[in-house]
Symmetry: C2
Subunit: 332 residues, 2 copies
């Protein structure tokens, strides 16, 4: 045993069974126009010979090829990305696609993109590169769906968030429940030059001027819980009047919660706390986290729809904006 044995192909089976290769194909794929007897015989032989079909050959010959999409995220250790991946996985498998998840380690984004372009039928994900032309070029004609931003370049698809109305609505609802002074925990991508996030902009537009000034920018490491913890301290110290804190993400809100525990600040008694994302994990903290939900709102389905259109080669680029309902839990 062992050694470099040649691959068993349908040809071998055909020879062994004394039939044509075509007949073998029919047997293997449960196609019609073949007798029970020969099918069984062929199946038996193929098993005996240890036959394993080549997915490359069959896809090459087949008219309808199996689609593979790549989902690109920063780090798969961030539960937001993994929960979204789970949703997307469902949507993909419902459509008969394979999906590979790619977390972009140290590899330059554009390089990774052009590598992927040769391996999958479409790429979707959170890409940071701002030069859309460069992205489009790197994708080499592969459909590309940008998440969390709105594409402007021809041929690039995107699904963005509608933070404006979402924050307006959130602040409104919180006011109804008694909130007066808001504060925000904003995130700054580690090391990068700071630029206000769309969330911050939406926040500032939704609150009163005093609250709008109460923003703490946290430099967020991979695990941004810590950033949220530090940020909460700073926010409360600098703006003690704050009765409602809105965090950039649920992860940061979890950090804020930890800080609150430590300081003996009651949530939501003294300070109301709201995150963004709708992580299912937010349900297990005490108190459970109220959140502006992205997950579990059909966002993944929306993405899949866009991919589907892109795959079908629709010419116009598809651009959507997802809305974010409030997921009321205990913290606000």
């Amino acid at each position: 045993m062992g050694g470099m044995q040649r691959r068993v192909t349908i040809k071998d089976i055909a020879r062994e069974a004394g039939v044509s290769r075509q007949t073998v194909t029919r047997a293997m794929n449960g196609m019609p126009r073949i007798s029970e007897a020969t099918r069984d015989r062929i199946l038996e032989i193929s098993e005996r010979l240890g036959y394993r079909p080549s997915r490359f050959a069959s896809n090459l010959a087949r008219t309808s090829k199996t689609k593979t999409i790549a989902f690109v995220v920063d780090s798969f250790r961030n539960p937001y990305y993994s929960e979204l991946a789970a949703d997307l996985l469902d949507a993909a498998s419902a459509r008969g696609w394979q999906m590979t998840i790619v977390s972009r380690e140290d590899e330059p984004e554009l390089q990774l993109l052009s590598r992927l372009a040769n391996q999958v039928d479409a790429v979707v994900g959170y890409l940071g590169e701002t030069d859309e032309k460069a992205l489009a070029t790197a994708a080499r004609g592969a459909p590309l769906v940008l998440l969390g931003r709105t594409a402007t370049t021809d041929g690039l698809h995107s699904v963005d968030f509608d933070f404006g109305p979402a924050f307006a609505n959130l602040i409104d609802e919180l006011r109804k429940r008694g909130s007066k002074r808001f504060g925000m925990l904003e995130s700054q991508p580690l090391g990068a030059v700071y630029e206000p996030s769309t969330r911050r902009i939406a926040y500032e537009a939704a609150v009163d001027p005093v609250s709008a000034a109460a923003v703490v920018v946290c430099e967020a490491p991979p695990q941004s819980v810590d950033a949220g913890e530090l940020g909460f301290d700073e926010l409360i110290d600098r703006f003690p009047e704050t009765d409602t804190v809105i965090a950039f993400s649920d992860l940061m809100a979890m950090g804020a919660l930890r800080a609150a525990h430590r300081r003996g600040v009651d949530v939501p008694g003294q300070v109301r706390l709201v995150g963004v994302d709708g992580l299912s994990l937010g349900a297990v903290t005490s108190p459970a986290l109220t959140s502006l939900a992205i997950l579990g709102t059909g966002f993944a389905e929306q993405i899949a729809d866009v991919i589907e259109q892109a795959l079908d080669g629709g010419d116009g680029a598809e651009r959507r904006r997802a809305s974010l309902p409030i997921l009321w839990r205990e913290s606000a």
Copy 2:
């Protein structure tokens, strides 16, 4: 524009450029033995024509084909699986493999397995089916690596856990820190007939008889945090002497923590708490969770090694047992 246009192939490019297909191949793949000039010209043409290489064709023709492995889990929403997937993803991409993650919805396990067998080069994951023969048959010759159990059937690989020594060591260390009466929160797969887990068996073997009797079996739903919360209540009510609780998983430990908060039980002051898994999430609870770590211990690397051997067609089935170091954090 639009419509069902024929695929652009190297043949088209060759014609357009007035060279052979082989030359196009050389240009596209950055191969040697081609002049800068023609390469540039070909690249330019291919871009203009919107050429997209067929991964199926190239893999079929190529001698070294790209490997794809499938990682099968119950639910990708369980952070244990997603963190392990992240580790495995790293190990896979380091080896140049693609990895697709498959969460087995309602599809019968064996059926899913045989479907996968035609799409990937190897399957690894947590499979529940106990009939190993059936598993081997469904895999149709594709290398199969079982996780969390030890395979006994010829040709089936596995990576299991060495819970015996791990629990013995854990209990030992906890005793040194003053623990006297232990209790365990055991998990019962939802709806299934209960059978003691290897963790429970290892626990019982490691503790004194009184502690060995203090086991609460929690029926664990997908999100087993709730199960842990309920279980903690029951355990403390039935065995009030308990000073140290060991949970089946970190998720359940998180639930226990929540119950402790609610009851005003100080952790680790009054009760020490230990989970299993080594979730990075365990670092963000307050107090942070001590755990018998699986994640972050080279477990994924070990799995990848086994897959590698299986892929190389090593005849003997590879069977490993991973050890579990204690990850000391605040809760114990």
